[in-house]
């Protein structure tokens, strides 16, 4: 029985307004890839930050390598051998690879009474560390900012290596990677496993769990649910652990009459994330847009919405070609976008519910630019009632609301603009299950009763399957597959998301590398 490299015992952690972790127990063995699965807000981030020394637990204990530890800052954890790679890589774009790897603990030389940085040793060691990861073609004297995300991530891993880490924590590492980079990452992670490093691998992609991990632990609402050997479980079981109920109840999509095309995009191009995209959305229809992170879905939505106007291509609303260069123009044409990043793109957190709800329709609640506060108040109250937003009034600052209620405010804001086309980007991410099904019910009603054309971007396949009338799959900036509700299955969609071409009869898809 090997001694776990890490043990987490009965950890509780509370932040103002939310209990992030409740009585969590968790362990990692050396030489194991242990996946951590759970929805946003389930507590994974908080847990790893506690392990990494960013937060101190309220109660409970962290035991590393058999000894209880009490970190007062992340650096202590780092020096003991716990390395963390967050999604937002912590690198210095203007400095070289070697310097990034060794910042803060660079090799030095003595010269009389002076001690100075030994650049040659630094670069030699950096090359060595990269070689251990079987990376031989990286110029360590190059500025990190000129590398793409995949390479930068490799620098981060080399950085972790430089601390002789024995526990490596990776938070959604494949979120922004191309396929080739993902392959490379897996190779490196397996290499590290063979070296005896314990790896905590956080992901929301079931595919990766089954491809990479030895064991998987599921979190839900800050609580530890269960740990399973990957070989002894399946997707269905994991999903139900994550979500807490079977799939069927969650997605009450009503039948609706699908009418004319309201939104059409033709050959839309913007950068490398939107490469010749064309599709149609009809009134009363919910079109699900599936794809891996980085496939260009949000970016394409933002092109349509005018945040990043298209370089070429056409957008047609109600059959008429329109030019959209700014979100304000999109709103005028009846397009609404409920964004992926609620906090940054969806709300102004310091303002209250009323001010947020009216933000897209200021023109309507004002007379000659003068805000009519009564109208604003009425709108806010109506919206709060309609969406059952849990708050004590329109004057409550949205910062304090839960994820689900915040999302309702954002949706309410956009519905107030009476759109014809509603684009919802990850509409139920970070939302508790109750609010989730409310939002789904709402979407369904909007399509069937109000005849909205809805484009729903989601990374949750069950949601896509349950809610969509039609499903489009995007990969590397292009639409690679289209399925109707009847013919779609998780496997087909998953296959399309990961490889070009359609699902082959024998159940395998070819993987191909993507030019960077």
């Amino acid at each position: 029985m090997t001694v776990p490299i890490l043990q987490v015992k009965d950890i509780h952690k509370r932040f103002p307004g939310v209990q992030a972790l409740r009585g969590v127990n968790f362990e990692v063995l050396p030489g194991e890839i242990h996946a951590l699965l759970g929805e946003n807000g389930a507590g994974k981030s908080t847990l790893i930050k506690t392990i990494a020394g960013v937060h101190a637990p309220d109660t409970g204990q962290v035991v590393f390598d058999g000894k209880p530890v009490n970190f007062s800052n992340p650096r202590e954890a780092q020096q003991l051998g716990i390395a963390t790679i967050y999604q937002e890589l912590s690198l210095y774009p203007e400095l070289t690879v070697a310097e990034n790897i060794f910042m803060g603990h660079a090799p030095r030389r003595r010269f009389g009474p002076f001690q100075f940085l030994d650049w040659d040793a630094m670069e030699a060691r950096a090359l060595q560390l990269l070689a251990e990861l079987e990376i031989y073609d990286m110029d360590v004297r190059r500025r990190v900012g000129t590398f793409n995300v995949g390479n930068r991530q490799r620098v981060e891993i080399a950085k972790a290596l430089s601390f002789n880490a024995r526990l490596l924590i990776m938070d959604e590492p494949t979120a922004a990677l191309t396929e080739a980079d993902v392959e490379n990452l897996f190779r490196i992670v397996r290499l590290l496993r063979e070296r005896g490093v314990g790896i905590i691998y956080i992901t929301h992609k079931l595919v990766e769990v089954f491809e990479l991990a030895d064991r998987v632990t599921v979190f839900r609402d800050g609580q530890y649910i269960d740990t399973k050997n990957v070989s002894e479980t399946n997707e269905q079981e994991l999903i139900s652990m994550m979500v807490g109920r079977t799939i069927e109840n969650l997605f009450p999509k009503k039948e609706s009459e699908i009418k004319d095309v309201v939104l059409e995009v033709r050959n839309l191009v913007h950068g490398s994330n939107t490469r010749d995209v064309s599709f149609k959305v009809r009134a009363g229809e919910i079109v699900g847009l599936a794809g891996l992170v980085g496939s260009g879905r949000s970016e394409t939505a933002q092109v349509i919405f005018g945040v990043t106007p298209p370089e070429s291509g056409e957008i047609l609303v109600g059959g008429k070609s329109v030019k959209i260069n700014h979100p304000s123009e999109a709103v005028k044409h009846g397009i609404a976008y409920v964004p992926e990043d609620r906090g940054l793109q969806g709300l102004v957190k310091a303002m209250n519910i009323g001010e947020n709800i009216s933000m897209a329709v200021l023109g309507e609640i004002s007379n000659a630019s003068f805000i009519d506060y009564r109208k604003e108040d009425q709108l806010a109250r109506r919206t709060i009632d309609q969406f059952a937003i849990r708050a004590y009034g329109p004057e409550q600052v949205v910062n304090k609301l839960s994820g689900g209620n915040q999302q309702k405010v954002v949706v309410g804001k956009w519905l107030a603009s009476a759109p014809r086309i509603l684009i919802m980007d990850e509409p139920t991410r970070g939302v508790d299950v109750g609010a989730k099904s409310e939002i789904h019910r709402l979407m369904s009603e909007l399509a069937s009763d109000r005849g909205l054309a809805i484009l729903m971007i989601s990374s949750e396949l069950p949601e896509i399957l349950g809610m969509s009338d039609r499903i489009l799959v995007m990969r590397s900036g292009q639409i690679v597959a289209e399925f109707t509700r009847e013919e779609a299955t998780q496997e087909k969609i998953g296959a399309a998301m990961m490889s070009a071409g359609s699902y082959a009869a024998n159940g395998t898809g070819q993987k191909e590398s993507v030019a960077q």
Partner: protein, 334 residues
């Protein structure tokens, strides 16, 4: 650069009357106002000349030049930006009045119009590059501070212009219904700015930008247009202030307005506007303006040199921010 207001009961624009009153008294503006009243009482007791209309009107004249600039500065700082070039635009405007009238022979009215137009363009240029190229306002206006001042110096070659017609001096030295002209202009500007900030969609947009520019843009607010507008407005006000300055001073010099940005920013920050953006009011700025002018006046009356007052202003500025930070941190702890 957003100031996240953590308290649950404090929206940035308030409507409910009784809550409004309560928060008003306890806010930075309220406290400052109380200090202001106390200061006025002390000053009027210590020196008989203080509360005379002559003294007050004189102070009003001086205050107006900074005041006109401090109003758009409030808008700009609320959006999280800053405009360091206002002093230089003032100088440029002053020079242009002199140059076009004296060297180019334009009628004085036309000269004034030219100066104001150029000031608008100057502000517009600031806004344009800030919006289009995403240059941080700090460095952009620092560069234009040099550039516009440089233009002023280059055009004027450090020569001053005098000999303006009598009617011109009415602007800076005359009165309307017994109140100094520039004070009247300032008063009108204050009322308009105050209403725009507190009650219009434009004002709401400013607060939104200051708290979360991305969120504001994604909500369809015309972020770029509004930003362009406030920097242009800042240029225009600096231009008007420059014309008034010349009228009051009776000559044109190329170093006019140097350092005025400091006074304006100090007034705005003292009045409760957060340097990080998202929070602030015109009333606060007005109180801050009066406060600073009072300080100057008070010291002058008590025979402290005017140069010493800039020490005080500078200290006041730093102190004001410290207090502001402290208040925000206390509020967060609630």
């Amino acid at each position: 650069m957003a100031a996240i207001n953590e308290s649950t009961q404090q929206p940035v624009q308030q409507r409910n009357l009784s809550k409004r009153l309560q928060d008003m008294i306890l806010s930075q503006e309220g406290i400052l106002f109380i200090i202001l009243v106390i200061t006025i009482i002390i000053l009027s007791n210590s020196n008989a000349n203080f509360l005379t209309s002559q003294n007050l009107f004189n102070q009003g004249r001086l205050l107006a030049e900074v005041g006109l600039i401090a109003l758009p500065m409030t808008f700009i700082i609320i959006t999280g930006g800053i405009d360091l070039s206002v002093g230089s635009i003032l100088g440029l405007s002053a020079i242009l009045v002199g140059y076009t009238w004296n060297n180019l022979g334009l009628p004085l009215e036309a000269a004034i119009v030219v100066a104001l137009l150029v000031s608008c363009v100057a502000g517009f240029l600031n806004g344009l590059i800030i919006v289009r190229v995403n240059v941080p306002p700090l460095i952009m206006t620092l560069a234009t501070l040099a550039f516009y001042r440089g233009l002023a110096q280059g055009i004027s070659e450090a020569r001053s212009v005098t000999g303006y017609p009598e009617w011109f001096f009415g602007l800076g030295q005359g009165t309307i219904l017994g109140i100094p002209t520039q004070l009247v202009i300032l008063g009108i500007a204050i009322i308009i700015s105050g209403i725009v900030l507190a009650r219009t969609t434009f004002g709401r947009t400013l607060y939104a930008i200051g708290n979360n520019m991305v969120g504001a843009r994604y909500s369809g607010l015309p972020v770029e247009r509004v930003t362009l507008a406030i920097y242009t407005f800042s240029g225009l006000m600096a231009g008007i202030s420059g014309v008034i300055f010349v009228s009051r001073f009776t000559t044109t010099r190329s170093d006019m307005g140097s350092g005025l940005e400091l006074d304006a920013i100090a007034a705005v920050v003292l009045g409760g506007t957060s340097i990080f953006g998202g929070k602030g009011s015109i009333i606060g700025t007005v109180i801050g303006l009066v406060m600073i002018q009072l300080l100057r006046n008070g010291m002058a009356i008590n025979n402290i040199t005017s140069d010493a007052t800039i020490v005080v202003i500078g200290s006041v500025l730093i102190f004001a921010i410290l207090v502001n930070n402290l208040i925000q941190r206390l509020r967060t702890a609630e």
